[in-house]
């Protein structure tokens, strides 16, 4: 009989007998239904706790930082005068020493970015183009592990390696490259008494630290280059170098841009590496740290830290143009 099964199963009631079971008219279900109807209320309740936190703790701090940079420190009482002024910024940009610091940090950031791109490329390219899936996973883990290894441990390791009688010099000695090392250390500006106290050493450490951050986005971008494009290029008569320049490089650019955002901003803001490994010259990060510490000059520290924010914002805008955000 057609309808028998149906009525036995309770077919046909307009509203489910929701009174039975754990649902029913329990308060939890009533809240559920209310939130289902009022989806904006639901959204609001969801966002309130995290936004409260991020808003007050993070944004609030950033705001105080900005405010502090517009205050100035009274030279005599060494306290912060809560009056809006441009005096601190003036101090920042008028003092040649300060400008030196900014330029020095900027130069290092650019140099590190370029070096990272150069070193990362063979690795990323191998991973994307030649590695079997197994090898690729191996490389992926191999790049990821150092990336997540403790930052301080890595810095410490390099300090040992670059120390005067450390591994680096042993290495150079064994390979007979003593002369090269000494010549490098004798170079003005970037050289120094040992690798551990020279810009050259600092440079090496920076490159090492941020290398994985460049490899991963670059690899992602290179992986997206279809094999048949390279074959088509060869088929049309291009030599490997031309294919690289005209096909691979433009397509890898978003990946390079994405990676460079990391290397640039991380170098710009770092204060530990320049303190631990490197020449006496100050970097932005070190200034910020020092000014807030012994000098207690928070306004100046704040002003100094606004510089990387602005520089990074500019760099992000440029990188976005180059397609970095599509590659992330």
């Amino acid at each position: 009989m057609p309808g028998a099964f149906a009525s036995e199963m309770g077919f046909g009631n307009p509203r489910r007998s929701s009174a039975s079971g754990p649902g029913g008219h329990s308060p939890l279900r009533r809240v559920s239904s209310l939130l289902y109807r009022r989806s904006t209320l639901y959204l609001f309740l969801l966002l309130l706790p995290p936004l409260l936190w991020l808003g007050t703790v993070y944004l609030g701090s950033l705001f105080t930082l900005l405010m502090q940079s517009f205050y100035a420190i009274d030279e005599f009482t060494a306290t912060v005068v809560p009056k809006l002024t441009l005096a601190t910024y003036e101090q920042l940009f008028r003092h040649p020493a300060n400008v030196d610091i900014i330029l020095r940090t900027l130069a290092m950031a650019v140099a590190v970015t370029i070096a990272c791109a150069l070193v990362a490329f063979p690795i990323a390219n191998y991973m994307a183009r030649y590695a079997t899936p197994r090898m690729r996973a191996f490389f992926y883990v191999g790049v990821m592990l150092p990336m997540w290894t403790s930052y301080l441990v890595k810095v410490y390791a390099w300090r040992l390696i670059l120390a005067k009688q450390g591994i680096a010099s042993w290495f150079a000695a064994t390979l007979g490259l003593d002369g090269v090392l000494e010549a490098a250390l004798a170079t003005p500006v970037i050289g120094g008494p040992s690798l551990a106290s020279s810009y050259l050493g600092m440079f090496i450490v920076f490159v090492y630290m941020w290398l994985p951050f460049m490899i991963l986005p670059l690899h992602a971008a290179l992986e997206r280059v279809p094999q048949n494009l390279l074959q088509a290029s060869a088929d049309l008569g291009a030599r490997p170098r031309q294919t690289f320049r005209s096909v691979v490089l433009p397509l890898a650019l978003p990946g390079l841009a994405a990676g460079s955002v990391f290397t640039f901003s991380l170098t710009l803001g770092d204060y530990i590496i320049p303190s631990v490994v490197g020449a006496p010259g100050y970097f932005i990060g070190m200034m910020v740290f020092q000014q807030q510490g012994t000098a207690g000059n928070i306004p100046l520290a704040a002003a100094f830290s606004v510089v990387p924010i602005v520089l990074i914002a500019i760099y992000l805008a440029l990188a976005k143009r180059a397609g970095a955000f599509d590659a992330l």
Binding site: L43, Q68, A137
Partner: protein, 264 residues
């Protein structure tokens, strides 16, 4: 992508690069066993375990370790709660202010640590708070929230909307749907996000130096050792311990979140 045979030069360069990435940490591990404690002779003259013994006897190391673990645990819990709420909110499409809020969730990672550090410090000073355990947690939780949020929202995005609709269609309200359908699906993402957050918090130094006041987490202990090295091999031992402690959650998180297609 199909792979061709790599030219030998490129293959060597790739492997050399990989080795370059790993050898510093391996050196440290090696040095934790060296018998020589004054200089950094290479190769080390002998191997011993006594530095491990000495390190385990040091109270200051244990205190610092304990503080780091506590901070990491609390920060992770806060992050799991707030990050998940945020992920559920932000996975919904186009509501007013969504772009601005998304940007807010990128900033803690996008801006360098020093900015976060000095900002927090100036806020702490302005508000007249005392720097200590809770200010450390505040700093850590902020970027941990972002980590958890990223993990959970990535998983939520892969969930077909029809599953939620089907669950509601079959009689489950919002809460029941979350419990029976959503939670099992995001469980591994929550776990991975939590472990990453824990590892990052445990290892954090850049922001912590600004917000710790007189407290010493293990990274801060380590940082001090960099400038006033007393017993270098003990520092090496601590380094090995730190690497081991953070390595486990990282690898677990990786296993939990890599997409199934990559498994070979």
């Amino acid at each position: 992508m199909p792979s061709e045979r790599a030219p030998l030069g490129q293959k060597l360069a790739a492997f050399a690069g990989l080795a370059f990435l790993h050898f510093p940490v391996l050196i440290i591990v090696l040095y934790a066993f060296t018998t020589e404690d004054r200089t950094y002779q290479f190769p080390p003259p002998g191997l011993t375990l006594r530095w491990f013994e000495a390190a385990f006897a040091r109270d200051d190391i244990w205190t610092a370790l304990g503080l780091s673990l506590q901070v990491a645990a609390v920060a992770t819990l806060i992050a799991l709660f707030l990050g998940t709420l945020a992920a559920f909110a932000l996975v919904r499409s186009g509501f007013r202010g969504k772009e601005a809020i998304t940007l807010l969730f990128v900033l803690p990672i996008a801006l360098p640590g020093i900015v976060t550090g000095i900002a927090l410090l100036s806020a702490i000073r302005t508000a007249g708070l005392g720097a200590g355990f809770w200010t450390i947690v505040m700093g850590h939780a902020t970027f941990c929230i972002v980590i958890v949020h990223n993990n959970v929202i990535a998983r939520l995005r892969r969930l077909p909307a029809s599953w939620i609709e089907a669950s509601m269609d079959l009689g489950a309200d919002g809460w029941q749907t979350f419990r029976h359908v959503l939670l099992p699906q995001i469980a591994t993402a929550l776990l991975a996000g939590g472990m990453l957050a824990f590892a990052l918090s445990f290892d954090e130094i850049i922001v912590t130096l600004f917000t710790a006041g007189h407290e010493r987490t293990l990274p801060i202990w380590f940082f001090n050792e960099l400038f006033r090295p007393r017993e270098r091999p003990i520092t090496n031992v601590v380094a090995v311990v730190v690497v081991a402690v953070t390595l486990v959650p990282i690898m677990l998180a990786y296993h939990l979140t890599r997409p199934k297609e990559q498994k070979d």
